[in-house]
Structures are given as structure tokens and as C-alpha cells.
Amino acid sequence: MLRKSQKFASLLVLLAAVGLATSSIASGHGDEKHDNSRVPLPKHSITKGDKCVEPTDVMRKSHMEFILHHRDKTVHQGIRTKQHSLKNCVNCHADPETKSVLGKDGFCESCHTYAAVSIDCFSCHTDKANASKQTMRPIDAIGQKVIAITGGEK
């Protein structure tokens, strides 16, 4: 016969299991539903180019390895080929409106959210296409004074 404390413990385990099951069912109801799936499917709107640098199934499975090898070659040996560079990924796959691969429907983020894999790339790398061609931040009060004094010349 089970002792009192053992009974209590088994009841707790049962309660926890029931709780987990209900919460996982609840979380399955996403905001959007596609193809009767419980989880919103990632959106892949490809606007640029005919095909990727590798076949799609290869890229889906191994894109992280391509970027990993390329980053080491670039940083340590100065090899800056375009084929597997992150910069090239972003320039091609960025959303034409937001110019970014992040965001709800962003090429990288939508799929990574679906797969529940966090992306580390963009805490350091820019997620924007052609980031260096972007305009600078607006001129502030100090900048205005400098322009007034120098007449805009450096």
C-alpha cells in the first residue's frame, strides 16, 4: 500500500501532466492557420532571382553549415566570395518593402519561428539589404549648429 507522501507525490505528477497537456493544446491555436495546420506555416515570398546558390532542399537542410564555413574563411583568411556569404543571403532574400529578412513575414524569421530555432546572426550582422547604402540618421540640433557655422562644409 502506498504511503501518504507517495500518494501526494503521484497526485502532483498527474496534475502536472494534465496541466502540460492542456497548455500544449492551447498553444497550438495560432493566430493564423494555413492548410488546416495548428501552427502558422512560414511564408516564403521570393522576389529576386531564379534560383538560390544551391538547390532548395540542400539549402533548407544545410544553409547554416554553408554560412559557418564561409564566415571562418572570410574572417580569418579574407576570402570574400559571394556564393555562401551572409551578405549575399540578405541582399537577395530581404523583403522588398521592409528591406529586411527579419519581421513576421521576413524570410529568415518566419521559418525560424516555425521551427523554433533562434537566429544569432542578426545580433551583430545587419538584417537589411544593402545596409551601407542607407541614409544616415537625421541631422540633430548639434549637427544643425555645425552646418550653420561651417556652411555645410567640413
Partner: protein
């Protein structure tokens, strides 16, 4: 026809000289712009020569250019000025005996015996084959040993989240960063750095960038003909950044 031993030797010498000066044949291959798929080699050794006599007190165009080029925006950061990243800074020095004052830019000195590389526990701090000292921020754990080891106070720790990075200059929270000698420009074959460009644009021409290994480059010729010094020469770190007038 008989040839004396002396004549034979003379003919041989002439033939060798001819081969050496024949067009297209060089004993030492000249430095050329690297194609993107080529790895950097020790054939080049990039360096900077700073003439402090030409450097103006109060002028910060090299610092500003560095910030613009590498996407460093101090106004974006909330922390104190002491913790904001500083890849290049202007230092004012004064000789207490004579009262002579001058100012000079100090950045990573790109040592060939770098203490930051010696102390790095992960191998993130490294020296490229062409002499540029860099941080591989993919493997930097942000321990800041390199910052303690550097005698030039050249490295900065990134304390805050950053947005709006340049595509060629990734930077992020929790890692150490420093002057890269504009490595993206070097690899592209620009033949200059943002600071040297800005200094020349201001008309000071105090910063000269070039290949110390190429005997024909301006920097190599200048260091051969003028007295140059390195900061803390006593440490024998073999810096790639040299100064005139200190």
C-alpha cells in the same frame, strides 16, 4: 673555338642578368590586388605611418570617419562615455620640460607579437597572415582579457545592443572590438583606410597607409628614409603602426 674559363664565367653572369631583367620575369613577385577567392598571405604586411607634426590639435576627422565607416554611433548608446566603443582616439601629449604640445591619433597598433592574441582563451583574438590583428566575434566570449593585456587601450567592449550596423562591419553586444585597419577596404583593394582618407581630405596627410613589405610602396620608402618610432618600443611588440615626431 676554345673559351677560357674566365670568359665562360663572364658569359654565364651576363646570361643570368639578362634573365632577371627580361620582361615578365621577376625574382620577387610584385604585390597585386587580391581576388575575392584568394586567401591573404604574409607577402603583404599592412601598416600605418602617422606624422604627428602634420596632425592638428582639435581635429577629429579621422575619428569621425572611423565612426561613419564602421557604423559606430555613440548617440545610440545609453551608457557612460567611458564605456562607449573607441577604435581610434586623439591623444594630446605635452613635454613638461619644453612645453611642446602635440596631438596624435592612437588606434590598435596591429602588433606582430600581439599580447591580446597571447591571452585570448578561445582563439577569437588573432593575427591575420597579412599582419592585421582582429577579433573573431563569432568565438569571442567577451571575457575582456585582451583589453587588459593591450598596452595601448585599443580595444572596446560592446555593452549594449546595437542596431544599424554596416553590412561589412558587423558589431554586437557582449564582444570585444577594435580597429580592423578597415579590413573590408583592404580586401576590396581600396589601398587606404577611412582615417587616412579623411586626413588626406582635410589636407593634413598625417596618416599614410600601405604595405610595409612592398619596397616600392610610399610607406616602406618613408620608414626606410626617416626616423620613425613606435609607442612603447620597449615592449618589443613589433607594431605595424609607426609614428614620426614622438
Amino acid at each position: 673555338m676554345s673559351v677560357s674559363r674566365r670568359d665562360f664565367m663572364a658569359m654565364g653572369a651576363a646570361a643570368t642578368a639578362g634573365a632577371a631583367i627580361a620582361p615578365g620575369i621577376r625574382l620577387i613577385e610584385l604585390a597585386q590586388a587580391k581576388s575575392p577567392e584568394e586567401a591573404v598571405t604574409a607577402a603583404q604586411r599592412w601598416g600605418l605611418l602617422i606624422d604627428t607634426n602634420k596632425c592638428n590639435k582639435g581635429c577629429t576627422s579621422c575619428v569621425d570617419a572611423c565612426h561613419t565607416e564602421n557604423g559606430i554611433d555613440h548617440e545610440q548608446l545609453k551608457g557612460s562615455d567611458a564605456t562607449k566603443p573607441q577604435w581610434i582616439r586623439k591623444v594630446e601629449v605635452k613635454d613638461p620640460n619644453t612645453g611642446y604640445e602635440h596631438s596624435l591619433p592612437v588606434m590598435c597598433q596591429h602588433c606582430q607579437e600581439p599580447p591580446c592574441v597571447d591571452v585570448c582563451p578561445t582563439g577569437a583574438s588573432f593575427k591575420r597572415a597579412d599582419g592585421i590583428v582582429l577579433v573573431d566575434r563569432h568565438i569571442c566570449i567577451g571575457c575582456r582579457y585582451c583589453m587588459m593585456a593591450c598596452p595601448y587601450k585599443a580595444r572596446s567592449f560592446e555593452h549594449e545592443d546595437i542596431t544599424g550596423q554596416k553590412e561589412y562591419a558587423p558589431r554586437g553586444k557582449g564582444t570585444v572590438e577594435s580597429c580592423t585597419m578597415c579590413v573590408h577596404k583592404v580586401d576590396r583593394g581600396d589601398g587606404t583606410t577611412a582615417c587616412a582618407e579623411a586626413c588626406a581630405k582635410e589636407g593634413h596627410n598625417a596618416i599614410l597607409f600601405g604595405d610595409l613589405n612592398d619596397p616600392k610602396s610610399e610607406i616602406a620608402q618613408t620608414v626606410r628614409s626617416k626616423a620613425t618610432r613606435r609607442i612603447r618600443e620597449d615592449l618589443n611588440l613589433d607594431n605595424s603602426v609607426r609614428y614620426i615626431g614622438i
